[in-house]
Symmetry: none
Subunit: 99 residues, 4 copies
DNA sequence: GTGGTCTAGACCACA
DNA sequence: GTGGTCTAGACCACG
């Protein structure tokens, strides 16, 4: 539980939100550079000392903010710096998903 | 690993798909002309720094898109350009395969 | 290995195909009714005494023949009988997968 | 070279024919039962102390006599006892070969 | 020395 | 605990 205390779990506010904020800070600080794969959600849950559901909720939040991109069955990646509407890999991947 | 970095393996997306896209670009660019034999799948796997299974998945994708024709036990060839009734080397070999 | 002997693994022919044929027979015979979920691929691999890759190849074949529908991270289901616009459980789940 | 002397290589007649005859005898004697996979052609060549080409010629002969069935990329099998025009596995395998 | 088949594992997001 | 991706090997017929 390396990051648990940094979440200040006794303070008001949703745990998953504080976790997402913490991750966002690590990303913006450059601690997690672009195109890095985040630890797996199970791993993240362990690192933060929270449940898997909470961890998934946190990454979901980061995804909705465009800070990370998650690829099914591959992993969750820190979003690249450039333009975000890149239609290349992700798009064609999805097509391959439905034959 | 000559092409490894061009695959950007840390970015999101399927490895086999990025590899297929890269090969497709080389074909369309004329870098790999029609009726050329691609490097062997084992060789391709080495060049791209991926496993054999991933390389096979990539050529399978190109085959399904009609960009290459593969002759069992012979090799994989860049598909002819326009007309499909061209009895190129690859094609006639293919016919000889089913007695 | 309940079905291992029915695959006749010593006879000529591809293992994954014999496995797919066996499953297809079970489906057509009504042994596996429409909208039933197949055993998981790992389970299937154990039942048939083959590797996971071979089992996946077999279900892939059934999918390409339209005999089954597979929903990522959910399971593989026996396809509905006649009309294709039936919003069975599997189908609606599938639609929910692409937001 | 276990079988080399049994081929009587100094006598007249083609080596591959004598090798095929020898194998045919082993099959009919029940030494190689139906649906057994023969040793690989390279292995066969070693066992008989002949070149790979000769061994391939021998199995080719057996194939033309219907004594064995060979499946590309799988192996060569002693033909089954029952009806020989079984259209099942072999046929569908070939279809899967040309998508 | 090519493509095709098969094994025996691993890790991942998703439910 | 599901299907999807990926690895690192093996053996085969065929050219």
């Amino acid at each position: 539980m390396t990051f648990y205390e940094e979440l200040e779990p006794d303070k008001p506010g949703m745990l998953y939100e504080k976790m997402a904020d913490h991750l966002a800070r690590r990303i913006k600080r450059g601690d997690l550079p672009p195109d890095t794969r985040l630890p797996a959600e199970r791993r993240l849950a362990q690192e933060y000392g929270v449940s898997l559901g909470t961890a998934r909720h946190a990454t979901e939040l980061l995804r909705s903010k465009g800070l990370v991109i998650t690829v099914p069955c591959k992993g969750t990646y820190v979003a690249g710096v450039g333009r975000s509407s890149e239609p290349s890999a992700a798009r064609s991947t999805l097509l391959a998903f439905r034959p």
